[in-house]
């Protein structure tokens, strides 16, 4: 799979990005359904779809790319006003985005797209596209253009055709960029003329500009422009490889070409994208003539070039650094000879593969395997060059890879593209060859063995001639030392025949082989590791803040060292103690700041989850034939990323329930004098140290009596129990396992697991869910979630000789009461606290621990708040409050009733953290 060639980081970045795109697309699509004529919305949808197509194409994710491409096509039709938004199209696009989302999910969990059947969506879109009077089928058109691109040599003039553009914007972008390129070329050429010569740098600039022109015109399908620029590019590459200068004649031809190119550009009808094909064969002939001249000059002139070299390379390093300018970014010293060696071997292999693939393709242009192989090789070269920091090479390889990719997406017959690809690969190969040559010759670290690696450009005779001439007179002492090659003296004896023989050259390189094998192993291991890691985007400013804090931390550490030294040296203890105190305080401040900063880094807005729901509600409302609107509020509320990731499923359950059980049908609502349209509110807001998410509906509410009836029927509770049950508790039955009141089980909900699961999910997030309902008016579920899972403020208490932590959030107050004040009401202990009756329980009893038998006159009491209800807990002793880091009890112990986790104290001991909600429930169930 082509994906294997990318590292995990690229993938996870893509996953994040793709999700973001889909998240942008979906809500907008829904909005669009209501405002079909909003062009801006369409544009907003089009853009991310386009990016998605591009990114997936880049990563070689074929199915995704094909699907996104179709989605883009149909969106474009809508945008151009050639089609109207209707529900069929909307459903189709939504289906496509669903499929895309699944693929992204697969990508994350399995490391590949998965085998999703997308064919029917694509066919469907194609049908729709065909059913309206659309200009000639796009794929066909592109194939045609590629064909013409091949045949530019006989480019038939005067044929009118439409450019293959995504949009008018796209066309304008193209024209603008092309004009910029041409302007740059013009300036360069004129400069050269004025100076009466050219530098390598200028030629490289020229080459780049023409290369861009060629690439862009190829994408847009402008055959003439593409053909001509291609010729010039090839020609310039020869000049470049030969490091020859441009003379007056060449400049004339090039300037003429620029004129032609300009008129070709002007020829584009900006409104329709139509061009009047011009005859450019004359100009391209002239460029070809030039090419021939220089090519032969290169071949026969190898000798003369050779003679020139020593002079030019006078002072070795400097001259070479001079050439270096064309790749710019890399210094020799940056390149590890081992890396270079591995790089060399990798690209050698890839070029051999590409040649093989191209050969096959020349006879059978439809061999998919070969095309894929070619693409993979190109991507590998692209990655390798990128890794080595050869930006220009990387770009070139990427462009070529894209070309192949475009071709294979449109099912082009590759025998038609053979020539152009062959040329591209040759150019690339000679570029890589020269790059390696430079490093090998220039970098002292690179031993003679590296030079042997320059072998693989047998295709470019000129370049080879150069390589042979560029080998240094002999290995310097440094070179010998650095190169782990057994026959170090070989560098001097290196001759052309040896260079040509790849096998022979490889043999003495034994020592570096295992490294390569290892590198491959590492690579394989990485791809096998499968799912990419979860990533988070961080504001740069926040990172800077962290860095500052780390700086302070280090300064502080040094102060501690200083203090301990002054103690050793016998300084005044009191003074040192005071300083120690100060330092400890500043340490505390820094760690607090660090904590806050790192928490902020982990925070993401709940919007990422909320955006899923408009779509869900839309689908559900269609399925259930209820008219429903969803109102979301507080999407910007931030929560810890791990919480946001896990809160989605419970919310889906709750919303489904609200639609299915909560809201009445339209008729029923009207009968009751309600608005026919039901509303579901989804709100998020901060509340103290936690975030509350509410799901409210204005439906029929939950009838406690019905709940009791059902619960008895299902055997969740006994009849006796039901009679004594308060309305609140009856409603809470909704969270009991195996409970479902849906009279008909629909495919939306009603399997009797929903709320149970919701509750457990939320509990695992250290959150709490409560329900508030009024019969006939509606139901509100409130989910309270901690801002972060990692650190909380807690009150420490002792029970039965062991310390426990109670989250401070839940503690409303602590007090001491005289045991005589405890009353018994209905077998429950209670006290009156400032006029309010509060039930009390012994924590030891609730935790099944031995009771404190001491006869205590005063009992320490912690009053906890759960929702609106209060409960007093009798403990043995009240300790201080403390910030604790929450740790899980481990999978093995899983959920222990009443305990939500553990923390580690300063002395290394483990302290359990109590779960106030469960403690409350335990107390209720006891009485």
């Amino acid at each position: 799979m082509s994906q294997d060639f990318f590292d995990a980081e690229v993938f996870s970045d893509f996953v994040v990005e793709a999700r973001e795109h889909l998240e942008t697309i979906e809500p907008k699509l829904l909005e669009l359904e209501n405002n079909p004529d909003n062009l801006e919305l369409l544009n907003d949808i089009f853009r991310p779809m386009h990016s998605l197509k591009g990114a997936s194409g880049f990563l070689g994710l074929k199915d995704m790319n094909a699907l996104a491409h179709k989605g883009e096509n149909i969106l474009d039709e809508l945008r151009q006003g050639r089609m109207r938004v209707n529900s069929t199209i909307m459903d189709l696009i939504l289906e496509a985005t669903d499929a895309l989302r699944t693929m992204v999910d697969n990508l994350e969990s399995m490391g590949h797209e998965g085998r999703l059947e997308v064919g029917h969506i694509i066919t469907h879109i194609e049908e729709i596209l065909k059913n309206k009077d659309q200009p000639p089928d796009q794929a066909e058109q592109r194939a045609l253009q590629e064909e013409t691109a091949q045949e530019t040599e006989t480019a038939p003039g005067g044929q009118k055709y439409t450019l293959n553009m995504v949009s008018l914007d796209h066309l304008n972008d193209f024209i603008e960029e092309a004009q910029e390129n041409l302007a740059a070329v013009n300036t360069l050429l004129l400069d050269m003329e004025k100076e009466g010569g050219s530098t390598q740098e200028q030629i490289n600039d020229l080459f780049r500009n023409f290369h861009n022109l060629k690439g862009n015109s190829g994408i847009i399908g402008y055959a003439e422009l593409n053909g001509l620029t291609h010729e010039v590019e090839t020609f310039l590459n020869i000049i470049r490889s030969g490091e020859q200068e441009l003379d007056g004649e060449v400049l004339d031809v090039l300037l003429e070409t620029v004129d032609i190119l300009e008129s070709l550009l002007n020829d584009i009808d900006r409104a329709t994208g139509e061009v009047q094909g011009m005859d450019v064969s004359e100009t391209s002939d002239r460029v070809r003539d030039l090419k021939k001249r220089f090519q032969s000059g290169n071949e026969t002139g190898a000798g003369s070039v050779e003679e020139e070299r020593p002079a030019k390379r006078n002072g070795g390093q400097q001259a070479v650094t001079g050439h270096e300018e064309d790749s710019g970014q890399v210094e020799f010293s940056d390149v590890d000879p081992e890396d270079l060696q591995i790089f060399k071997q990798t690209v050698e292999q890839q070029f051999a593969n590409m040649k093989l693939a191209l050969d096959r393709l020349s006879s059978d242009g439809t061999d998919k395997e070969m095309v894929d192989g070619l693409y993979r090789s190109l991507v590998t070269v692209q990655n390798s060059t990128g890794y080595m920091g050869f930006e220009e090479l990387k770009k070139y390889a990427a462009d070529t890879a894209n070309l192949v990719d475009q071709g294979r997406k449109t099912d082009t017959d590759f025998s038609l593209m053979y020539d152009i690809l062959k040329q591209e690969v040759d150019i690339l190969e000679s570029m890589v060859g020269r790059q390696i040559q430079k490093f090998a010759a220039g970098a002292a670290e690179a031993g003679p063995d590296v030079q042997e690696g320059t072998v693989y450009s047998p295709g470019e005779k000129g370049a080879k001639a150069l390589q042979e001439t560029e080998s240094p007179p002999g290995p310097g002492p440094q070179e010998e030392a650095a190169a782990p090659v057994p026959e170090a003296g070989d560098g001097t004896g290196m001759d052309a025949s040896k260079v040509k023989d790849l096998q022979q050259a490889d043999k003495p390189e034994g020592p570096s082989r295992p490294e390569e094998a290892e590198a491959q192993n590492i690579g394989a291991g990485r791809t096998q590791a499968g799912s990419p890691s979860s990533t988070i985007r961080v504001d740069h400013a926040r990172l800077d803040e962290l860095m500052n804090l780390i700086g302070e931390l280090i300064i502080n550490r040094n102060r501690f060292t200083m203090l301990s030294r002054s103690l050793e040296e016998g300084h005044d203890v009191l003074e040192v103690a005071q300083q120690l105190n100060e330092t400890t305080n500043s340490m505390a401040r820094i760690s607090d700041d660090l904590q806050v900063t790192i928490m902020n880094v982990r925070m993401v807005p709940v919007r990422t989850v909320f955006t899923k729901f408009p779509r869900l509600v839309r689908d559900l409302s269609r399925k259930s034939n209820k008219d429903i609107q969803l109102v979301t509020e507080g999407e910007d509320t931030e929560l810890d990323k791990s919480v946001v990731e896990l809160i989605g499923d419970p919310l889906v359950h709750l919303i489904r329930n609200a639609v299915d059980h909560g809201l009445e049908s339209q008729q029923e609502r009207k009968k009751q004098g309600k608005d026919g349209k039901g509303t579901i509110w989804l709100r998020a807001a901060h509340k103290g140290n936690s975030v509350v998410i509410e799901i409210e509906d204005d439906g029929k509410g939950i009838d406690p009596e019905k709940m009791k009836l059902k619960a008895v029927e299902k055997g969740v509770i006994g009849e006796e129990e039901a009679r004594n049950m308060e309305a609140d508790q009856a409603v809470e039955l909704i969270f009991a396992p195996g409970f479902s009141t849906a009279e008909t089980i629909t495919d939306v909900s009603g399997r009797g697991v929903g709320m149970d699961v919701v509750k457990n999910n939320i509990k695992s997030l250290k959150g709490n869910i409560s329900v508030n309902t009024t019969v006939g008016r509606g139901t509100r579920f409130s989910i309270t979630l901690p801002l972060t899972l990692a650190i909380i403020d807690a009150l420490m208490v002792t029970v039965n000789g062991q310390i426990y932590a109670i989250p401070l959030d839940a503690v409303s107050e602590t007090t001491k009461i005289e045991s005589s004040r405890i009353n018994e009401i209905n077998n429950r202990k209670a006290i009156t606290l400032r006029g309010e009756v509060v039930g009390i329980s012994s924590l030891a009893e609730l935790l099944d621990l031995p009771e404190n038998k001491e006869d205590r006159a005063e009992l320490p009491l912690v009053i906890i708040m759960v929702g609106d209800r209060r409960l007093g807990l009798v403990v043995d002793d009240l300790l201080e409050r403390q910030e604790v880091v929450i740790k899980s009890l481990g999978e093995y112990l899983g959920d222990q009733p009443g305990i939500s986790g553990a923390t580690i104290m300063g002395d290394g001991s483990v302290v359990l953290i109590l779960d106030p909600n469960e403690i409350y429930k335990l107390a209720i169930s006891r009485s």
């Binding site: 009890l889 093995y892 112990l893 899983g894 222990q896 986790g901 580690i904 359990l912």
Partner: protein, 158 residues
Amino acid sequence: MANHTQKKDADLLQMVTFNIGGEEFGVEILTVQEIIRMMQITKVPKAPDFVEGVINLRGKVIPVIDLRKRFGLEPKGHDKNTRIVVVEINKMIVGFIVDSVSEVLRIPADTVEPPPPVVAGLDSEYISGVGKLEDRLLILLDLDRLLSREEKKVLSQV
């Protein structure tokens, strides 16, 4: 060469052996993460009886199981020989309290026999086999089963 030694390795089982109630048990060395001395254990209320509590293993909270209690043997106070064998199985890290740890043994795989129905009062389903040493028997524990079984039990109690 390499193949040969590998083959030999495959035929040899490397076990960590320990004592509980006078019986010698063995677990495969690869599952054992480390062996630590007894340390302060925090009791977990309402946990099953054989769960001794949790400990802090370098910043990680892990549960500790008393194998004596687990096997239904007489409880015994912790002494200087008592050890916690920390194992990792199915990504779960759990400590087992044993009376003492004896040695690391290599035994040929072919000396291991299938377990008899009942050994030292524990169901044979937790035993993967019995290794015959020169003068004694070694009970090979199937910790994987022991844990997953317990897991189910613990969960059903909640």
